[in-house]
Amino acid sequence: MTDTAESSLAATAAAKPPFYRDATVVKWIVQVVTLIAVILAMIFLVGEAGDNLKAKGINTGFDFLNVNPDFSIGDGIDNAPDTGGRALWVGMVNTIRLSVAGIALATILGVLIGISRLSSNWIVAKVASAFIEYMRNIPLLVHIFLLFFTLGQLGDFGRNVDPVTGELSQGPINGWVHVSNKGLSIPRVHIADGFYQWMIFILAGAIVGRWLMNKRNAVRDATGHETYPVLNFVGVIASFGFIGWFLHPIFGWVGDAIFGPLSRAIPNVPEVALQLILSGLAVMGAALWIKRFLDNRRTPAGLAQLTDDDWFRMIFAGVSAVLASLVFLVIWPGLASWIINSSRDFFEVAADKFGDGRGNWREDWPIDAARPDIEKRGNFANVGPGGLNFSQGFAALFFGVVLYTSAFIAEIVRGGILAVPKGQTEAAQAIGLRRSTMLRRIILPQAFRVSLPPLGNQYLNLTKNTSLAIAVGYSDVVQVGQTIFNQTGRSLEVFMIWMLFYLACSLTISVVVNFFNVRLKIVER
């Protein structure tokens, strides 16, 4: 930042300073020295860790991923994982499940509460603000513990027996909602056979609907008449869905005809080709980036002078691309075969899901629903299509995280609405919009634009907060990882897996939020 001043001074003096007084050189010396110091310190610490581990007789390495971990997992897609890697995968799926469901529910709740807090009704506003102040001023962990013990104080599942029918029962709404010391159980909708064939109909409906909507939009823009484009869009999807509900078996051939051949064809792709494609993509990406960067520096008078920082950016991009292709080609050749195998597996699964043999047209609905089913006193039914069961730990964690985050989201929504200039409301009133139209068309879109980036932060926080599962014994990735390092002592490796997993989650959420953020940005001339 000083270079502007210093370089112009140097220019007037018309003499090049000695190298040790040259700001650019000194800066680079300082930076390189610091970088080397940091790298040396890390090498020292890692070496120290290696020596200490060796002295304590603890093995290192990732072999635990392929060894039977000898523990069972209470919740998740696999209760008795046969390898450590599988166990961690179960934990990751649990974390992802919690986060996705949590984000959806917290957003809905948060928006409702945020709007209620601005309500003109005194008691609604007060109740909303009391909720917010209660939730956000107390640590999440305390909330989770409170919920956990409150659930634990409740009665057994299926404690009472109906004297007339002899059925096991447990309220509050028998057969629909059960709350007990084992957690809670609610009805659920689940994917049944034929769902995927039905989705083809929905997809077709979306395409047709989109086309129709564009058409209606054009008509509205041209004539000024209200043509209800969104209603048309939704209507087309709904009618396609309705027809598909009965006709979905006609797509039974998709699995065998498309995905089956694909899954058989993919292993024939040579690994080298994939490696070359990947490294080519990396190099091309870097080249494109550098080109765009230089274009941005180009003024009508020619290319602006490049600073050392600009050079660094371009060199950095180039070097990263070369490193990436090295990784693909030499360092980690297994990546290509892993990609090939996974895509083969993916298409195999797809072929199975889209496969035929669902014969009965009358009974195979795409979607099915089930109510909680009490089979046994004191426990959930673990098998069969029962309701949606939340174990005690899961329920405490899930509702704790959701309620906590929804309080923050409510504040963000309120802030966003308040940030819309008052002139917008007044202008909307002046052109005679109704209150609901004004909210929908004027206020909320602008409020959403302001509140999207902090909302993304809250989604990140929610995802990270699910790691408190360890406090209530729910098997998320941190809890499973902790069990593994207690057994094997592979603490550093587990820590690295945690780090990579959460960084990947954060990156995914950031990318999604950023995508919408860019789309919502005001286009400036």
Binding site: M1, T2, T4, K27, Q31, V32, T34, L35, E48, A49, N52, L53, S119, S120, N121, W122, I123, V124, V127, E133, Y134, R136, N137, I138, P139, L141, V142, F145, L146, F149, T150, Q153, N160, V161, D162, P163, T307, D308, D309, F312, F316, L460, K464, N465, S467, L468, I470, A471, V478, Q482, F485, S491, L492, F495, W498, M499, Y502, L503, S506, L507
Partner: protein, 673 residues
Amino acid sequence: MVMGTERLDEATAELLANVAAEDAKRPDEPSLPFGEWVKKNLFSSIPNAFLTVFFSLLTLFAYRQILNFVFSEERRWEGVRVNLRGLFTFSYPASQYHRIWITLGIVLVLSGMSMGLMKSIGRGFSIKRISMWFYSVGLSLVVGILLREPSVLKDADGLARWSFPDGSPIARSETGLLLIRDDEGVSLLAEGESPLLLRESFGSAMSDRGWWWIIAVFALGIGSALWFGFGDMKRRTTFIPAIPLTFGFLGLFISSVWWYQWGHYGRDDAGILISEPDRLVASTTRIPWTILWFVLVLAYVAGRALVRTERAGLTRVLIGFSALLTPFVTYFVILRDPDLDWAHVWSTDIPMALAFMVGGGLIMWILTNPAIGERGRLIATALMGIAVFNWVAAFFGWYAMLQKARISFLLLALAALAAHNFAGDARQRLRSVWGWMGAMVIVHYLATMINTAETVAAPDQFAGGFVVTIYIAVFTMIFSFPLGVILALGRTSRMPLFRVMSTIYIEVVRGIPFITILFFFAVFVEFFLPEGMDLAALASAGIAFTLFSAAYLAENIRGGLQAVRQGQYEASDALGLTTVQRTGFIILPQALRVSIPPLVGAVIATFKETSLLSIVGLTDFLRVANSNIPGQTEFLGVKREGLLFICLIYWIGSYSMSKYSQRLEKQLGVGER
């Protein structure tokens, strides 16, 4: 961050004081008549009326459930009441309690003084508002008395009475067990039936709550007296300052230890811990609290007396410095009590400190001479060479040297490198010298205190409860702040390598959950340390908190840095300021001013995150409530009471901090552009 108001320059402070004075004259909003208010706010339209009815019923239901829970006969609040000592200080040796009282006293003196020294203390609360408070307290008491279910009937032994579903009472055996089986052991209850708890009638419940009625009527009476005693205009324009009012309520609360039987958990004659619910708090608790209240009030009064004098500015600076130093002093001296080897102190420590003070002061005097030019840099570089060589020599063991000396050399070299930024006339140069000497006094004092044996047991063994919460929060705040500033400067810097390093650090730390970092430091950090080095659990947790919090602070400060206009950079370049001068005197002050409210938010977040300490095995506040109290034989399984209590403490802490930050935001005029 507490010093936020102190950092303002005089002109701004004056302006703010004027604004506050204007504010003080502005009356509250006139109040609508009751009927109109209800119509406007609750029943303005039909959907609104439905909402009002629904939410009123919901609120009443929730209120009833809360009351039934809190006042239920099954609740064992004495589990919290007699464990207050454990919750706040855990197993701190009772013989050493005076240290904690003294620490608290220092903190209260400092905060009382700085509150008193504030230029504007706000306009406070109007009589109208205070009267509304009394009304709402009285009304909620009345509603609560009517809503709560009648108490359980008890027999002569104090055991609850039960009945069969048809109403006939269930007898008890001599051992107090309910007799729900006949002589042959056959249950008298049909399948699916459960016994009922006998409760008193509604009328007798109402008459039993006589004291509550009296308090409710009293509150309503005060409310009405305030409301009708003042005319409408006077009610709205008479303000009572917030701080004295708070002190008054605090005093009322503290006075209760003299007249309310809070209960006591002490040792009996045989030395066994017993709980005694129905007696006053021990005098060893009663008297210090009372004294502390007077100390707080006196400090505030002293601050108020000083605020109009010339010394106010100097006192503010002194208090700011002391507030920064207090945690170290209290930790190292009051909580740790070093066992000093006085012969060594006199023969080595003090002479060395003096040598560095004088020698370093001389170097600073020379190097801040504007005429020294290029030679100054050469001297500074040479000093840096010596300092680095000392560390290299230490690594290879060429010669012995006190670590303190190595650190001092390094600090001296850094100060010398930065010295030319402070060049000026004699007065300016003298100020640098004094600054260096002060820094040396503090560094050597702390280094000496840390490096000696201690007389109180190691902190890890007795540090627990709220003390740990506060210590971690305060240390995180103090250490993560400078680190956050450095990271933020690095991330916005034009030096690419610094930018890349800071960005990687910030994004990685922000991307992973705190609990994994805490695990890393609790479990793995021992592997990284060289042979023979050890880190206390509390210290490693503190480091984890600091490193984590710094990444978040850095993002807040970066926001502030980006809010500084480009013109400020250009203007300081035009003045010929160096990078250090521009950053330190022009950019950072403006950036920090903007980022104070989010920084307070970060402090609140850290305060709440301290609850995670209980997961990695430290005995913090939450762990005491969650596992220590339920583990006591008298209070087996009493969990929710303790948890609710710490909810209350956390709530008060976070809520008051967030209110403070809102006020600060208003004062600084952030967001009103």
